[in-house]
């Protein structure tokens, strides 16, 4: 199976994002009952983002040496636009989900005070928001890949 430089770049971005953020979120959400101070360390997020940028840069550089130049034409722009639309809807769903969760909590419908404390804490909401940001990026990469392979 032949892959163009852009497809290789997308696969790289997708795999690196899934692996690194997947591991990060697994650690975060499997420890959801911890106290807020234990749950969230913003420097972890910065470290993860820097790690992703470095890994992506190295792998893309490796592929670009053997492949075509990074020219962007009308097909690339169309694919980018379509996949950004899917990414946008994912982020919208995430934002609405978080909003509903907060409204649900504000209405006092949570039956368990402990759940209220954990699932509506600023720490948990921040992680949830980050999760939807990452998910929308994953949707962006994967739909781009889909359109490059299957046609647009």
């Amino acid at each position: 199976m032949n892959f163009s430089y852009k497809e290789k770049s997308l696969i790289t971005s997708l795999v690196v994002t899934l692996l690194i953020f997947g591991r990060y979120f697994f650690g975060v959400f499997s420890n959801v009952t911890a106290t807020p101070s234990e749950q969230f360390d913003f420097s972890d997020v910065i470290r993860v983002i820097i790690l992703i940028a470095i890994l992506e840069g190295i792998i893309k550089w490796f592929f670009s040496k053997k492949d075509e130049a990074d020219l962007v034409d009308e097909r690339d722009k169309l694919i980018d636009t379509k996949s950004y639309r899917n990414s946008y809807w994912t982020l919208c769903i995430g934002a609405w989900f978080i909003l509903m969760q907060l409204l649900f909590e504000a209405s006092g419908l949570w039956s368990n005070a402990y759940h209220t404390l954990v699932f509506t804490s600023p720490t948990f909401i921040a992680h949830l928001l980050l999760l939807f940001f990452v998910l929308s990026e994953v949707i962006h990469f994967s739909t781009q890949l889909f359109y490059y392979r299957k046609g647009v």
Partner: protein, 50 residues
């Protein structure tokens, strides 16, 4: 003419030429006219509407 030569003359990537050939992408009118100009034939000899 190679795909890369055509792509360079038209100003798109080789992948776009491959996608047009495989019927996976319908080019804009501008690109379609550029392709027909490269081959020096009318547009309808290169593209047809199914």
């Amino acid at each position: 003419m190679s795909q890369q030569t055509l792509a360079t003359k038209v100003g798109v990537t080789r992948q776009t030429i491959i996608a047009i050939e495989k019927d996976k992408y319908s080019p804009s009118l501008e690109v379609a006219f550029k392709i027909s100009n490269v081959f020096e034939v009318p547009l309808e000899e290169v593209f047809s509407y199914d």
